[in-house]
Structure formats: structure tokens, C-alpha cells
Symmetry: C2
Subunit: 315 residues, 2 copies
């Protein structure tokens, strides 16, 4: 029996005394020239292969720099798909490398579809696919972000794999972007006092979807994405979803502060992880101390700073 | 200036007298043994490469068989991602091959994210990415399916690329699956008579998102996914979105009939395309006339049958 995903995550948070998730959203033009030209020298006639190699080398540097400091990393697949199949291979390699360094992984892919197709996504990202009689794990992430618009039967296939393999999902509930309210804030349910926002309804769904598979540490394998940019909504959602781990984007570059993310936590600093992507990956850009070739050291310093800022949640 | 996506689609429908979209959702275990073993012989030591080759060879057979009969094909990326980067390459190759045979393409990927990430997806699937100073199109699909849960700023980056490149999107509105109503049917908007279902609100969004970029044939580059399994809802949505092309899944295998999809059309058979995946791809399974190696002939016969059934929409 595989260890429950939420137990693995909670124990990693406790062991590393960190609630930070490092987002790995590479931007080729921000990768140091030394890495870019080395990659081009390896693949002089294939710029997509060279781009993918540069991305993976950059990610390896970041992962090495932060592996002992944080419980989890989150590559965003769009930034890999830009480079086609080569980019997707770099995405898979990044997940594998992070795992080899003792990190948990979130495939930030926001997948969603009807049941039979959701099953294919679940097998691809979290489980295994039968290929000519052998079971092959295409990506083998520990967890994946998903979108709830198709309802329960688009979620269930993921949960079947989660239970079997000790994996998890993070469902979009209240996202960090400006127009997240277009749909998510709509008032739902007619009849006076019973109305609430759509994101609250989705919060209730998420809590119920995970309710029958709660780990020893008190959390289910169904997490929720709740943006740091909406602290009031996070407060309401924390009450609706006591057994749900929040993945919180929007900290730092998007405007979320330490104070903004406090409502995402339960007692003792549990129940949430705070993502930072650009601020960590490209910390060298805002640094007087570090140049591009010191990107890893700059990222490490930034993560140490975040851990220090966020240690208040453990109080 | 690139030709408008909706004009390209409407003209292809008219030229081929067909509203059928063939879904390309390969299942390795249903691909004829002759193709599977030939692929394994090419890649004896790499089962994922062999699987990807088998899928692409199978797809080529299908595309050759239907290219003169239908306007558009729709590969569903989950069934390729199961085979990792090799599978994603087969997905890209399938799009390219379909295009070379004069077919329009829909990348069924249901992508969604905040603005900066949505832009990465848009560049990956519809546009170009700058790679070491060169512009590279990773997938170069004519259109992509997207999910609206993040609102306008997750849609806009796609539309920027659509306008520039003559591409389109299909936004999930009312999906064909059983629990589509979990979120999509929720009553939205408080205050008596003004309430309606979430899918209707999304329909209004979709119509407005495309309103400033309507092609010569009267449709915008923002399409809508509306399931064949919900004809009443389709009727309401057709009124809400007069300038929106519907991509209609759920016909055949999922239970939708010709009668069910009629409300999706405007006058003269325009404004909707009807997808069929399994029924066409694996038509040989239900046939007494065709064996596995005749899968292409069986698919062709099935598409001819669908075209005949659906010609009523042009009346």
C-alpha cells in the first residue's frame, strides 16, 4: 500500500520546516547565456532540442540549490510545451530529477476532461499506462493540478489512481488572477440566504471529493488551488475545507504577502504550501550580489528568505 | 493578414458538404496487430517510441481515409501524453499530417491558466515561440479547446494569437458528460427572474469574447463546446450565441442522436460541427464486413454514413 500523498507532503513540510513550493516555469531568454550556448553546442542543428536541454540544465541547478530547503517543486507544463515534444521530455526529466533529490512534485497542468479522457490524463501524469504488456509511467508526478468545470466524473478517475499510487490532485477553486471572479465569484443558488459564491460551492465539492480518503495527518488527497491575492476568500475557504491542503499561487511577483497567505493555514503551519516561481528562478535579476551564472545561489538565498518570512505560520 | 479561422471552417464545411469532425483518440490495444508489430520492429528496444509510431501510422490511415469527406479532425492530447514525449511527438505529427491533407485541426487539450501561462499555451498550440532568435511553431494547430474557469484574462492571450494567425478556440460551455451539471447547471445570479444556469452565463461570456472579431461568414474565432447529450440546453445556447460555432461531442458512442444535435445548428447547416471519435476510429470492431486491417475502409464507411445522416442539417 502506497503512503498517502497528503501524509508524504505534511511530513516533508515538517522535516524541512518549510511551506514553500518552488515553481519551475522556465523562460529561455532568462536562462544564463553560458547554459544556453553549451546546450546549443550539443545540438547545433536542432534548436528545440537545444532549448529543452538548456531548460533542464537550468532546472537541475535550481533543484540542487533548493532541494534541502523545500518540500515540493511545481513545473508548469505550458512553458515546456512551447518547445514541443523536446520540451515535454524536459518536463518529464525535471520531475524525475526533482524526485531523485528527495522532492515531491506537482505537475501544474490544470488538466480536465470527461471520464474516459480524465482517466488517460491520470494514467499519464500520476499512474502507469500499459504499453505492449508492460506498465510504463510517462511522467510519474506525485500530484497534478486539475480544473473542476466538468464535475465529479472528470475528477474520479484521478482519485482512483491517487488511492492506488499514493498520489494527489490540486483542484482549482479560487485562482490568483484578476478575472478569476468572472465565473468563480458568481452568486450561486437561488432563494435568499442560501446563496454563496461559485468558488465556495467548488470548495464544498473538493472537501467532499476527498472526504473518504483522509490520511493519518488529517488531510485528503484532493487539494485546492487558492490564490494568495484573495485573502478574504481564502479565510472562508479554509473553514469550508478543513481537511484540504491548499496550493497557494500568487505570492510575491503577483502581489500576495505573508499576511495574505496566513488565512490559508490551519494550526501549526499545516494545510498549505506557498508557491513562488519567477521570484526564485530569476532572483539573480533583482540582485546586486549575484550575476546570471549565480542563478542557483540567488535562488537559494531567495528561498531561505521566504522560509524565514513564512516561519511565522508554524507558531 | 491570415484568413479568419471561422471563415476557413465554414468554407471547408460547405466545400465538403459535411459537418463531421473526426476525433483521433488512439487506443494502443485497439490498433491492428499488423501496425503494432511493424512499429515494434522499428523500435525493438523502446516501447514508447514504438507505441507512438503505431499511433501515428494508424492515424495516417484514418486521415487518408476521411480527408476528402470531412472538414476537420480533433486529436485528444491525453491519449498521446500517456506515452510521454514520444506520444506528444505523435500528436504533433498527426496535426501536421492532417494539415498536409487539407484538413483543419482542433487540438483537444482543454488548456487553461492565468494570463502569462495562457500566453505560453497559446504560443505552443496556435502560434510561435521564439527559440534562439527563430520563430518556431511547436504544434501549429488551427484551433484548441479551452476551459473558462479562470475568466477573461485566461482567454485573452489565446485570442491575441487567434487574431494574428487566423486561429480559433472552442471554450467549454456545456459538456457532454453525466456530471457536467455539477457546476455547469448551478443557478447563478440572485434576485428572482434574473437567474439562469452557469452554462448560460458562460455562453454569454463566449459570445461577448468573440464579438469584436467576427469573420465574413458571420462567426467569431471563439467557438463553444456543447454536448450532443443535452439538446434542450443546446437550444438555449444557440440563441445566446448566434455568432459562435459549436463543437459538439457526445454523438454516437456517448448517446447523442441526429435529432439531439439539430438544435446546435443555425440556418443552412452552419454553426456547428459534430464530433465522433471511437465510432469512426474503431468502426471495424462493430463491422462484419471489415477486419482490423480494414480499419481505414471501415472508418470511411462510418463517416459516409454520418454525412448521410447529418445532411438533413443543410436543408
Amino acid at each position: 500500500m502506497a503512503e498517502h500523498f497528503s501524509d508524504r507532503l505534511v511530513r516533508a513540510i515538517r522535516a524541512k520546516k518549510s511551506v514553500v513550493c518552488v515553481g519551475l516555469d522556465p523562460r529561455l531568454d532568462k536562462i544564463p547565456e553560458s547554459i544556453r550556448s553549451a546546450a546549443r553546442a550539443v545540438f547545433p542543428n536542432d534548436i528545440l532540442a537545444a532549448a529543452a536541454r538548456a531548460i533542464f540544465e537550468f532546472n537541475k541547478g535550481l533543484i540542487d540549490a533548493v532541494a534541502d530547503l523545500v518540500p515540493v517543486v511545481k513545473p508548469q507544463i505550458a512553458f515546456y510545451e512551447m518547445f514541443g515534444a523536446h520540451g515535454v521530455q524536459a518536463f518529464a526529466d525535471t520531475l524525475k530529477y526533482a524526485k531523485s533529490k528527495g522532492l515531491l512534485t506537482i505537475a501544474d497542468a490544470k488538466r480536465n476532461d470527461i471520464g474516459s479522457t480524465a482517466q488517460a490524463y491520470a494514467e499519464a501524469f500520476l499512474g502507469t499506462t500499459e504499453v505492449f504488456g508492460e506498465k510504463v509511467a510517462a511522467f510519474d508526478a506525485d500530484s497534478i493540478t486539475v480544473t473542476p468545470y466538468l464535475g465529479w466524473d472528470g475528477i474520479k478517475p484521478f482519485l482512483d489512481v491517487c488511492k492506488k499510487e499514493g498520489k494527489g490532485i490540486f483542484t482549482l477553486v479560487k485562482t490568483s488572477n484578476k478575472s478569476s471572479g468572472d465565473l468563480q465569484d458568481l452568486a450561486v443558488g437561488v432563494g435568499g440566504a442560501q446563496t454563496h459564491a461559485l468558488y465556495e460551492t467548488v470548495g464544498h465539492f473538493v472537501e467532499s471529493w476527498g472526504a473518504d480518503d483522509v490520511g493519518d495527518e488529517g488531510y485528503s488527497c484532493v487539494g485546492a488551488v487558492v490564490g494568495a491575492t484573495y485573502p478574504e476568500q481564502a479565510k472562508a475557504l479554509r473553514k469550508i475545507m478543513p481537511e484540504t491542503i491548499f496550493l497557494v499561487p500568487g505570492f510575491g511577483a503577483q502581489g500576495g504577502t505573508v499576511e495574505d497567505v496566513l488565512p490559508c493555514f490551519n494550526e501549526g503551519g499545516m494545510g498549505a504550501i506557498i508557491n513562488s516561481s519567477r521570484d526564485v528562478m530569476f532572483a539573480y535579476e533583482k540582485s546586486e550580489k549575484f550575476g546570471p551564472d549565480d542563478f542557483a545561489a540567488a535562488a537559494r538565498e531567495k528561498v531561505l528568505e521566504m522560509n524565514e518570512q513564512l516561519k511565522v505560520v508554524f507558531a
